[in-house]
């Protein structure tokens, strides 16, 4: 049997030429980088994604939504401006039809409304399959690996910071697969009630971009400039909370207070422990996505009468430039990070989290578990849409190859960053000279703790350079913190509302005088890690 060889037909040649020509045109119009990224995403999603066969049952929860197709078309035809319009819909769960209100997400992120996997929000009745939650965002994931935000939120929550409920789901609308999306609790006054710690609504303020009016993007506003820039959500009584927010903003805006005065006033208005955890989570998650303008929440803890923040829209490994240790994301961080004991508290929380998440490998266990859970759904998802280039409008379909490489990239990035951060916090580059005075010189960033035994008496005062350190009694010994001085980078505007600033730790060169000479049993430890310096 012989097979007659055939040449490539004219049709194929025509097609090939058309492809090359269109590529040339795209390169000309979009530039080579964008053109290649878009075409590669398109090519791979068309060719590779279809190869997956029988990926197995979903391990993610499935969200089955029914909505009148005409209403859906109407909303889609006017996106992003139709983002505020609501239509009735039904969530189907175990054969029960739960009535909900549906609306698409509009501005500001293009990935919410461009592409064919659009973010939306559901408002549910009390009796619903996601109870006690009643307002849910269902978001097109922002990264190729789809779980970037989910894991960022997980890390912050793990560190004791309040976060919204966040779960990956597989979505179907009118029996048509939408694919993997991220379900995200929309916060309101029920935040504490949902968590079982309050019986009624609590005051909650939302710090975000101003609402869109008349299809125009409003100008950006700095949240900590005025209490009016915060939106009160919920039905709780806002009188006391509004007054407290105004007081907080006046403390933040007032640049003339002394450090101790500012510390004592802030401590009455904010939950210092939670803020320290929140800022520590920001360092560990390595994100700058909560800033002067958006992604901030304040909840009034009515048991203690102070505000605490919520970690929102985390974006794991979305770092500020240069990965500074003391990055100032907003006006409150500007002051918080100046206070040595609060900065130390933040660093200790960050270090403690790294020991569990990085050193003990708990994050990678979670990471692998998340990949296992999401895998069958990602393989079935033929609507993976995301930003394929840095241009915001480039929301296109991407491939499972992007997802896999993004998972690998994220693993490497997280490990490398945490390794650097861990070493940085644990670094003890210090020289110690003992004589009549104790002299400490250090180029690393951690503060030091001095501990020595001694009889119970009035707290000893140590002279450290031009400062006085007051020792505290702890576990039967005296202890004093040698803080590190921090300074804004050169040329920075030293104001709380300035954008994208950070503090640098200054080298240490200090001589410390003890009341009765340097104690013989004096131990010096890294105040962040508690490791003794030999």
């Amino acid at each position: 049997m012989s097979r007659e060889s055939k040449g490539i037909g004219a049709g194929w040649w025509f097609l090939l030429i058309a492809v090359v020509l269109s590529l040339v045109v795209f390169v000309f119009l979009l530039g080579p980088d964008r053109a290649i990224k878009i075409s590669a995403a398109s090519f791979l999603s068309t060719t590779v994604d279809g190869l997956s066969q029988d990926p197995g049952p979903h391990r993610l929860r499935q969200l089955d939504l029914r909505i009148d197709q005409a209403s859906l078309d109407q909303l889609e035809s006017d996106l992003p401006w139709s983002g505020g319009e609501k239509f009735p819909a039904i969530v189907l769960e175990h054969g029960v039809e739960y009535p909900v209100t549906f609306r698409y997400r509009g501005m500001y992120s293009a990935s919410h409304y461009l592409g064919d996997k659009r973010s939306f929000r559901l408002k549910l009745k009390k009796d619903n399959p996601f109870a006690p939650y009643r307002k849910l965002n269902v978001i097109n994931p922002k990264s190729f690996n789809m779980v970037n935000n989910h894991l960022g939120i997980w890390i912050a929550g793990r560190m004791g910071v309040p976060v919204p409920w966040n779960e990956m789901v597989y979505v179907r609308i009118n029996d048509s697969d939408q694919g993997v999306m991220e379900m995200y609790e929309q916060i309101d006054g029920d935040f504490e009630k949902i968590r079982g710690i309050a019986k009624k609504e609590v005051p909650v303020f939302k710090g975000d971009y101003a609402p869109i009016i008349d299809r125009k993007l409003p100008p950006k506003r700095r949240l900590w400039e005025s209490a009016d820039h915060w939106e009160f959500v919920g039905k709780a009584d806002s009188t006391a909370a509004q007054a407290q927010l105004k007081a907080l903003i006046s403390v933040v805006q007032d640049t003339l207070r002394t450090l101790s005065e500012r510390r004592d006033t802030l401590a009455k208005l904010i939950d210092v422990d939670t803020y320290a955890r929140y800022l520590a989570a920001m360092v560990v998650v390595n994100t700058k996505h909560m800033d002067q303008y958006h992604n901030q929440w304040l909840v009034m803890n009515e048991r203690t009468g102070v505000f605490y923040p919520i970690f929102w829209d985390a974006l794991l490994m979305f770092p500020p430039e240069g990965e500074p240790l003391y990055f100032i994301n907003d006006a409150i961080a500007h002051w918080f990070l100046r206070i040595p004991e609060w900065r130390l508290l933040r660093d200790r929380y960050a270090y403690q989290a790294l020991q569990e998440l990085y050193v003990k490998g708990e994050f990678m266990e979670k990471y692998d578990h998340t990949i296992e859970e999401i895998q069958p759904s990602v393989l079935q998802d033929r609507k993976k849409y995301g930003h394929v280039s840095l241009t915001p409008a480039d929301v296109h379909r991407f491939s499972v190859v992007h997802t896999i490489s993004s998972f690998a990239g994220m693993r490497a990035t997280v490990n490398a960053y945490w390794d650097r951060l861990n070493k940085r916090l644990a670094a003890n580059d210090v020289t110690v000279e003992r004589g009549e005075k104790l002299t400490l010189r250090s180029s690393s960033e951690a503060p030091f703790r001095l501990t020595w035994s001694g009889p119970m008496e009035n707290a000893p005062q140590l002279i450290a350079g031009r400062d006085t350190l007051t020792a505290e009694r702890k576990d039967g010994a005296w202890t004093a913190l040698v803080p590190r001085a921090v300074a804004l980078q050169e040329g920075s505007w030293d104001r709380p509302n300035a954008n994208w600033q950070h503090y640098d730790v200054q080298p240490l060169n200090v001589s410390i005088v003890f009341p009765y000479g340097v104690p013989l049993d004096l131990t010096i430890t890294n105040a962040i890690t508690d490791a003794e310096i030999k």
Partner: protein
């Protein structure tokens, strides 16, 4: 090579042979395959439902069937919604007419949120088999596993909802198999003998912020208190200190629950766990409920859990040993369990499968048995699978700010200060950890709550006068040392009733009351604990009450004893709207006591006995409009040499209780013996030996689930069962030769 264009006809013989080979092959495959062949493990993507259909045709093995009839429930179309149950797709309650054998009433039905199925709410005044609420969950043959799990849970002594299978039909008339499951609520706890218990619901999922704090029933004060105790225990356990957790948990029940969680293949994070918190003992006891779904990835899943009350216990060597011991004991019962599973198969498989599908159903059941008994029960690393890493749900550290959580360790010095203050205020004597009330008059106008671990002694001649609703609660050993000549008096200060004189122990202290004359109390709730009795003794290792008179006008009962060893002797009881004496979960004896009802309108019992082993000897029960001695909750009771006079019912037995009646006099009672089922349909047994009956209206009344049996000879071994010394046989003198 070319094929011939000529068509070949296939003859009849070839057709027959083909059918024979294929049909015979399928018959052989389905009818002769080993019964434990996995119904789910078929290759090439063959679905179990396809296999089931083939099995209906080709599996011809004989299957034994039980004789029971299938119970049918019918739910009518709703007037308000207009729909049939088959089309019920809307959330919320819908009124329907519910029909079952012996029951028809209007009920409310709603679809469940967390799984397919319905919840049925019956009218308060017309409960269905004693239940207010019931789950109906659509079932198939694989659900037979839930019946096995219920049996295993009961075998391990756990409280668990009763499971049964029924057919439920709506408008179409064709019934579908459903599993009925009791809802875990206060009623269920009460039916299982856990009165005065709070329900606590806990999630083991650290990814859900909403489940991070225990949901506790009761009032706000009780909630805050129990939640604080739980928070303390789980936080300390996470930091390595298991002491508070070990103290809080009922070890036997916790170990049993963990064994069940290892057997049922649950996804630990998905299934919330219900506990009962008993105020009287301060212990939490898990309630077992079979999981909603079997977790497909169970075997390889070691995902961390939230800090909880159960899995961290496995870090304690003694607890781990208990867990292994109970597991080994259960393993040794495997042959017996197989037999009991087979009985369940006989009863339930015909409900779950059509007659034609019974062989396949049997195969599925065998597989479920194999999985439970041969694979999971014998699995070696069960404890490791359950003992996982834990971390708190998001934001936990923040939410604790401002929350009331008890101190890490109980302050030691506090008691001495409180003690000194009490001694000074009431002019008491303080002997170490004991407060002594010397002879004298004491006016107490606010609740006197003695700190935990402090013993209280009332000496002879003490006269306590308690103001309206005021109580004395002792949380340590309690001694009343009155005498016949110089008794201890407790009275109300004014006309209004005081609360209670109570002892709340932790199971290790003793209560001894001698020569107490008390009246004028009504019972009270103090610190979240309900003390139903004017005198209440909860959680005492042993309670002895001798030569006393306890009479009340208001309130439920004169004396309530919950738990421990009991000895009551020479007491005169009077009054109580429920019963003059209530004894729960105790062993011991009641002798030489009298129970007298003077109020001709009060329908109350003389004695109510629940989950006890008690001997009544020489008691006198007179004039009860309820029952003289009412025995319930699987109690075992001996009544001998006693006198029952003019009672509506002299002795009754229900709910798997057994009463031996010997040597008594029954005079002028309306009914002497009643054996009947309770609302759980469980009857009682009365064994009647030689007694004297005079002028009673009716001697016995027993329903179909109970029995009253005459026994000619009283076996002396019965006395031994109740710890009563058997009279030695008369000695015979031997004449020396």
């Amino acid at each position: 090579m070319r094929r011939s264009n000529k068509t070949r006809t296939i003859g009849l013989k070839a057709w027959l042979l083909g059918l024979l080979f294929v049909g015979g092959g399928l018959f052989a495959l389905f009818s002769l395959k080993p019964a434990d062949l996995l119904p789910k493990d078929w290759p090439l993507g063959i679905r179990p439902s396809e296999v089931e259909h083939y099995a209906e045709l080709f599996d011809r093995r004989p299957v034994e069937m039980g004789n029971g009839t299938i119970i049918e429930y019918k739910l009518s179309a709703s007037k308000s919604m207009g729909g049939c149950i088959e089309e019920h797709a809307a959330p919320g309650w819908v009124k329907r007419l519910f029909m079952a054998p012996g029951y028809t009433d209007s009920v409310e039905v709603r679809q469940l949120r967390d799984r397919a199925g319905m919840e049925v709410k019956f009218p308060e005044k017309n409960r269905f088999n004693g239940q207010r609420r019931l789950y109906l969950l659509p079932s198939d043959v694989s659900d037979i596993q839930d019946a096995y799990l219920e049996l295993l849970a009961k075998e391990l002594g756990l409280i668990t909802p009763t499971v049964a299978y029924v057919h439920v039909s709506g408008c179409t008339g064709s019934g579908r198999a459903y599993r009925t499951e009791e809802r875990i609520d206060a009623d269920l706890l009460e039916r299982r003998g856990l009165t005065n218990a709070l329900r606590v619901l806990l999630s083991l999922d650290p990814t859900h912020p909403d489940g991070q704090f225990a949901k506790v029933g009761g009032n706000e004060e009780e909630r805050a208190q129990v939640r604080g105790i739980i928070e303390r225990a789980v936080t300390d356990a996470r930091s390595g200190d298991l002491e508070p957790l070990l103290k809080l948990m009922d070890h036997e029940a916790a170990a049993s629950w963990l064994i069940m969680a290892g057997l049922d293949g649950r996804e630990l994070r998905e299934e919330k766990v219900m506990f009962a918190y008993q105020w009287t003992t301060g212990k939490l006891q898990p309630i077992y409920c079979s999981p909603r779904n079997e977790w497909q990835y169970y075997a390889e899943d070691h995902a961390p859990l939230s800090p909880n009350l159960l899995t961290p216990l496995l870090a304690d060597p003694d607890f781990r040993a208990l867990f292994e011991k109970k597991r080994t004991a259960l393993q040794q019962k495997i042959p017996e369990l197989r037999g009991r599973f087979a009985t369940l198969d006989l009863t339930w498989l015909p409900v779950l499968a059509d007659v034609a599908a019974l062989p396949f159903a049997k195969t599925t059941a065998m597989q479920a048995q194999y999985k439970l008994l041969d694979r999971r029960l014998t699995q070696e690393n069960a404890a490791e699978h359950l003992h996982r890493k834990t971390y708190f749900a998001p934001g936990h550290a923040t939410f604790l700010h401002g929350m009331s959580v008890p101190e890490a360790a109980a302050p030691v010095a506090d008691n001495s200060e409180v003690l000194a203050a009490l001694a000074k205020r009431y002019k008491l004597r303080q002997n170490g950890d004991t407060l002594v009330f010397p002879r004298g008059k004491y006016m107490i106008d606010e609740d006197l709550l003695i700190p935990q671990g402090i013993a209280v002694v009332l000496l002879e001649g003490v006269r306590l006068f308690l103001a309206k609703d005021v109580s004395l609660v002792v949380r340590g050993a309690f001694h009343v040392r009155g005498t016949l000549r110089n008794p201890v008096f407790v009275r109300s200060m004014e006309r209004d009733a005081f609360g209670t004189v109570a002892m709340l122990g932790d199971g290790s202290q003793r209560c001894r009351i001698n020569g107490l004359l008390i009246s004028g109390g009504a019972g009270a709730t103090v610190g979240g604990v309900r003390y139903a009795g004017m005198v209440s003794i909860h959680g005492s290792a042993s309670s002895t009450v001798i030569n006393s008179a306890i009479s009340m006008e208001e309130g439920e009962t004169a004396l309530h004893i919950d738990g421990g060893q009991v000895k009551l002797e020479g007491i005169r009881f009077e009054g109580g709207s429920k019963a003059q004496l209530i004894i729960d979960r105790a062993n011991g004896s009641v002798s030489d006591c009298s129970f007298l009802e003077r109020n001709a309108e009060r329908i109350a019992n003389g004695v109510s006995v629940n989950a006890c082993k008690l001997a009544f000897d020489n008691v006198r029960v007179t004039g009860m409009l309820g029952t003289g001695i009412s025995v319930e909750a699987a109690s075992q009771v001996l009544v001998r040499k006693s006198r029952f006079e003019r009672n509506a019912v002299a002795i009754s037995a229900a709910d798997l209780s057994k009463v031996h009646v010997e040597g008594n006099n029954f005079l002028g009672n309306t009914l002497v013996f009643r054996a009947s089922h309770d609302r759980n349909q469980r009857g009682g047994i009365l064994l009647v030996y030689s007694n004297e009956f005079i002028d009673n209206t009716k001697e016995r009344d027993a329903d179909e689930s109970s029995e009253i049996t005459n026994v000619a000879i009283f076996d002396q071994k019965v006395l031994g069962l109740f710890g009563i010394a058997v009279d030695p046989p008369p000695s015979v003198r031997r004449v020396r030769r």
